[in-house]
């Protein structure tokens, strides 16, 4: 089943066409990598898919949690998240002055059943659902090895754990499509290995389709099944890791003319 379809989306900033005619189809369960030199437009694509920006032309279709195909081109981020698409950010955007636990619990809010009145008057319905939310949050934190830090403020976590928390938080919204923006940024090789295992694990466990932006080629080649390469806002190559790594256009984009990676 096709989960996401970006049809010819472009976006103009002032006079600059940051992304031109981007096309992408994501099938359920795929793990797709979006790579390209800095400034190629990768995060801009993410922002369009998640509703932070709106494409100036083209359309985006997303199959939501209920199986309905929705035109999400002009929707707001919160609506898209509620439909089942979650993301992490290139620059960590945790809720810094809130605890690790609260960062996760917030992700459950849009599904909460009790009303404000229940909260204010502390009804049994409130207690029951709060306990449930906390239980789910702690369980999720356990998967990421963070539950012992649940009372810590997010800003006090070491960098690597903050990145993990961001992923956990996105997962807590219960998505079917997860967008990861440079999840390995700033990680050492060991952490990157662990991350790769984690990504494979959560894809299995939560039945996810994953789209990821990365610069770390080991990670990309290691776990992505398919890769799209972007340069100056345009797709210059698409295929399996093997195909893409041998593509001369890709090499030129990353390394300039006259370099042969396989020489």
């Amino acid at each position: 089943m096709t989960v996401l379809r970006a049809k010819d989306i472009s976006i103009l900033f002032g006079g600059l066409k940051a992304v031109s005619n981007f096309n992408m189809t994501l099938e359920e369960g795929e793990l797709l990598g979006l790579i390209g030199p800095n400034g190629a437009g990768k995060t801009t694509v993410f922002n369009m898919l998640t509703g932070v920006y709106h494409p100036t032309s083209g359309e985006i279709e997303f199959t939501d949690k209920n199986g309905k195909v929705q035109n999400i081109t002009h929707m707001k981020p919160f609506q898209i998240t509620q439909m089942g698409m979650a993301r992490t950010f290139q620059n960590i955007r945790l809720f810094k002055d809130l605890t690790v636990l609260d960062n996760i619990r917030i992700a459950y809010h849009f599904n909460v059943k009790y009303k404000s009145a229940d909260a204010v008057f502390r009804t049994p319905a409130f207690f029951k659902e709060e306990a449930e939310i906390t239980r789910k949050a702690v369980a999720l934190l356990e998967i990421f090895n963070l539950e012992h830090k649940q009372a810590e403020l997010a800003k006090n976590l070491p960098y690597g754990e903050q990145r993990k928390l961001e992923i956990a938080r996105a997962l807590a919204t219960g998505p079917k499509l997860l967008l990861l923006d440079e999840p390995a940024a700033g990680m050492n090789p060991q952490e990157t290995q662990d991350l790769m295992k984690l990504i494979r694990f959560i894809r299995e466990k939560f039945n996810l389709t994953i789209l990821l932006i990365e610069h770390d080629m080991n990670l990309v080649m290691g776990i992505c099944e398919r890769i799209i390469v972007l340069d100056y806002g345009q797709t210059i190559a698409e295929g399996t890791p093997d195909q893409v790594s041998k593509d001369p256009l890709v090499m030129k984009a990353y390394l300039g003319e006259g370099v042969d990676l396989h020489a």
Partner: protein
């Protein structure tokens, strides 16, 4: 969770008993009328400051016109009890509702937008309300003001004690209800708006809706505060609700700690008390208050309490139990 409930109930019980004792002391004259007035005024200031803390401290949207909301509440109650013979409770609730409607109206165009427009719009609103109150002479008595607003009781001897009882009861209820709201999923939603709007949006939180949510509730509470003020003071004049009054509330919130209910309560009482004592400073107060704001923002932006709340249990253990690690774990649990 259970510790939090125990803590909350303990605090509430202490507060109720304390209020009862205070009111009784006022009635029998141990606490004189002047002191009773200051305490009651402090209670009202705390209520309005709490409402400001909700939108500015917890939701992170600076609002500068809460004196205007208070004015709407005050005049509404005055009109309700003087012209329509509402019972007091109904009048005050009506004040809250009417003020909430105003909140909805000015919030809607403003909160859709990114950034700092709420501050300016609420500032303008505060001024406009003042001008409107001056011009609606038939209803509000205009610039001369509205005199002879009946108090909570006709019995002059009972009035000070009863005013204090009313105000403190509403204050305690506000504290409890607001605290309950903050420590819930809805509270977390507004906190996320404060922390990072874009991330909140990406977590499925409708940021605009929750800004409106916090702002409207804030307006309601401010209206209730104003509604209590009318019978307490007995006289209303539009100049009482000017920009400087809004700043007073801001100073209370900032000093106490934006995001701490306890902080607002403490700062509210301290500042109201100080204001009376430092009356001789008159004009210099207007120089000291802004300096205070600037200094706090530059050197201790978290104010007195930061975003922490008082924990009776933690205090108890600190004082009476020597097991330090236990109280650390409790404190951690308290943060939720």
């Amino acid at each position: 969770m259970k510790k939090n409930i125990a803590n909350g109930l303990t605090l509430a019980a202490i507060a109720v008993v304390f209020t009862g004792i205070l009111a009784a002391l006022v009635y029998i004259g141990v606490i004189d009328e002047y002191t009773a007035q200051i305490l009651t005024l402090a209670g009202i200031n705390v209520i309005v400051a709490l409402s400001l803390n909700l939108i500015s401290g917890f939701t992170g949207q600076l609002a500068l016109g809460h004196a205007g909301f208070m004015a709407v509440g005050a005049y509404t109650t005055a009109v309700c009890i003087m012209k329509f013979n509402f019972p007091m409770l109904l009048a005050i609730l009506t004040s809250g509702l009417v003020t909430a409607v105003f909140g909805l109206i000015i919030g809607f165009p403003t909160l859709r937008l990114r950034g700092d427009y709420l501050a300016i719009v609420t500032l303008g609103f505060g001024e406009i309300i003042r001008v409107i109150m001056i011009n609606l002479e038939q209803i509000t008595g205009g610039a001369a003001g509205l005199k002879g607003i009946p108090s909570f009781t006709e019995d002059i001897l009972l009035a000070p004690a009863l005013s204090m009882l009313w105000v403190f009861s509403v204050m305690i209820i506000t504290i409890i209800l607001m605290s309950n709201l903050i420590k819930s999923s809805y509270g977390r939603a507004v906190l996320s708006v404060r922390e990072d709007e874009i991330a909140a949006n990406s977590m499925g939180i409708n940021v605009f809706y929750y800004k409106m949510y916090a702002f409207t509730i804030s307006a309601f509470i401010a209206g209730v505060g104003g509604g209590l003020y009318a019978p307490f003071f007995g006289y209303l004049n539009p100049t009482m609700f000017n920009f400087l009054k809004s700043v007073d509330f801001l100073v209370i919130v900032v000093l106490g700690g934006m995001g701490s209910i306890t902080g607002t309560v403490i700062a509210g009482f301290v500042l109201t008390y100080l204001q009376e004592f430092l009356r001789f400073l008159r004009d210099y107060r207007l120089v000291i208050y802004p300096l205070l704001l600037i200094f706090i923002m530059l050197f201790r932006p978290s104010g007195l309490m930061g975003n922490r709340e008082i924990s009776i249990l933690a205090l108890w253990q600190r004082l009476f139990k020597s097991d330090r690690t236990q109280s650390k774990v409790d404190k951690a649990g308290e943060r939720q």
